[in-house]
Symmetry: C2
Subunit: 382 residues, 2 copies
């Protein structure tokens, strides 16, 4: 058979054809009125997805670059912060703080997928009255968990600290209106719900965050947001930006605008509900206590070798799901449903999963997963 | 008339059609054998252009990100360095050092375009025996000047310092074989002679530079080359890379490979010779004492308003040359001849320039510039 490739990973994600072909347009200069108009249009579109009146800055980097941007622009050496770490990406906040000499207390949630409540955060903040910032994650891509950012926002807003949220995989999938939920720094990456290839990252700061940034002493140059702010006033960027990616982002944002933000959230909710119904019908268990709509993270069933499951999905069926990371390697697998995905991509994912489980000798009712997912899709199709 | 756009700026530069259309291919995952094979092929191609046996690291950032990468990976707070600053980009070395608390002595060449000799560098190094690094520029994009990197390499190699060269606009245009010329850190950007859109930067370190990097104490995370090195051993990158740009780079490197590196240098030499012949025939004067083949930087003739010249070229003739930067705004203009440019692009540039000069009332023999350029092209065409 023709080996047809299905990208079902939590980033990179499939890109709409129109946004793909836009990258094939001839390059034009970034110091022109044409570029400035496009750039400001994209910036406005990003503000809508972020749910903010503040400016959103476009960085040419991966999402990790935006995480570093948050740390180095807000803090000074020796500052005390809290990091909420529910997996590989929550851990990254601590790793960046460590690299820059920021004193961080890591709230390491064990096992991955465990939830953390607003009340628990309030207690932590009470114990650290000089906390400058709380670093959290909207959707933890390594566990599939979603966090109560709205609750965190309420807790942090009562203190002098700022709330920084990694929305790399979560923004545009699940609601997180930055201004309403009192998120002080929100950031994301282009290759997730923004539906373009990797290479750009987005970040916005509240006025409370800008006030903290005004006194920040950590060294920075490429990621210096004061330079970005100064240049945005001139409708440009301090450094040559990823022009072709910004052109692509305009087209993907046009699609998002047409669908509407609520429509985009509803779309992802249906895909996630269908996926969850499918894997539950196969008797599989989710890792996350509070699963999000970005990806579905399942425990590998007893008696099955996790590495083999992922390898078969990817190698034999070309269904490129993701395996577990670090301590969870071989123990979980992750099916993403973000980016340019439709309902039938979920059917494909579950069908490939069922066939793989058959190959590995797992006992279950064949077709139960795709049937359950289809029922959810049918009910919600519009 | 149809307004046809001509990109004649020193970055971004025109991208070959085949490399453009490659960006429209569906996105695939960066943790796959398919990506690893492509990634290693691109890395090998970059090594050839860099003239090095060392690994070349692909960063998702602009060229400035690679400059910061050099500084933060080599140095420690309080280290003493020399920066050779012949314009806006040479100045940037000092600005990055300043941001990171590195003690730098800036050799500010005044006016821009002034040369700096190996012997002068030797004298500076003698006066600073504890110098850790010399930061230089192969082609200074703000002045059109080229520097004697071979001579600098000989001078620095005799000391414990390392030589760091910004080859952002120069690599692939003019020879700078990193290993042969004893360049310890060489870096470039994707949107120049590498003929793809902006968004990637490339950097390589000599063994002498790696030894210095081993003791570097400046903070770093996203740009940490130790992480990049560890990941390259696994044929991947630490962070999600600009996948579509790397795919494009493969196609552009295929073209470079076919032409050969010597062919690429010869091509740029012919374009630069033709441009220089053309502007000289118009009675224009170059800014650089030692002009390079990347771009031709001319002084605006007396009696002409520089801003108007650039505006007419760009607005009326859609020939997107660059104006002067900072103190040279309105005093110079810059015609680039790098990226995917052919001989007739030079004729176009000079024709637009002649028509602009006529519009502005400049007295000269009409057609003299294009005739002189054409003669050079004809003689060297192959």
């Amino acid at each position: 058979m023709i080996k047809k490739y299905y990208l079902l990973s939590p980033g990179p994600t499939p890109v709409p054809e129109r946004a793909l072909s836009a990258a094939a347009e001839p390059i034009f200069h970034h110091r022109t009125p044409e570029f400035s108009a496009l750039f400001m249009e994209v910036t406005e579109g990003l503000k809508e997805v972020f749910g903010t009146k503040e400016d959103v800055y476009i960085l040419t980097s991966s999402g990790t670059g935006a995480m570093e941007t948050a740390v180095v622009n807000l803090l000074s050496p020796g500052d005390k912060v809290l990091t909420i770490s529910g997996g590989k990406f929550g851990e990254r906040w601590g790793n960046i703080c460590k690299a820059y000499g920021v004193a961080y207390k890591e709230i390491a949630l064990d096992p991955w997928g465990k939830d953390f409540s607003k009340e628990e955060l309030e207690a932590e903040l009470k114990a650290m009255p000089d906390c400058k910032a709380v670093f959290a994650t909207l959707s933890e891509t390594s566990s599939g968990a979603m966090f109560d950012i709205r609750g965190f926002g309420e807790a942090v807003a009562k203190t002098p600290a700022v709330l920084v949220v990694d929305g790399i995989s979560g923004a545009g999938v699940t609601p997180c209106p930055m201004d309403d939920w009192k998120v002080d720094v929100f950031l994301s990456g282009s290759q997730k719900s923004f539906m373009i290839p990797p290479g750009l990252a987005y970040i916005a700061l509240s006025q409370k965050a800008w006030a903290l940034a005004a006194n920040s002493k950590l060294p920075k140059f490429y990621f210096d947001l004061k330079k970005a702010k100064k240049n945005l006033a001139d409708k440009t960027t301090p450094w040559t930006p990823g022009i072709s990616l910004i052109v692509q982002q305009k087209h993907a944002l046009d699609m998002i605008k047409k669908l509407g933000l609520e429509g985009l959230f509803a779309h992802h909710r249906v895909l996630a509900d269908a996926t969850r119904a499918g894997v539950k019908a196969l008797g599989l268990e989710l890792l996350a206590q509070r699963p999000g709509n970005v990806l579905t993270c399942c425990k590998v069933p007893a008696g099955i070798e996790g590495g083999k499951l992922v390898k078969t999905m990817q190698g034999k069926y070309m269904a490129y799901i993701a395996g577990g990371q670090e301590p969870y390697k071989g123990k979980i697998f992750r099916i993403a449903h973000l980016g340019y995905m439709g309902g039938f991509d979920i059917i494909t994912a579950l069908s490939a999963l069922e066939m793989t489980l058959m190959d590995l000798g797992h006992k279950f009712e064949a077709g139960a997963g795709i049937k359950a997912a289809q029922a959810v899709l049918k009910e919600n199709w519009q």
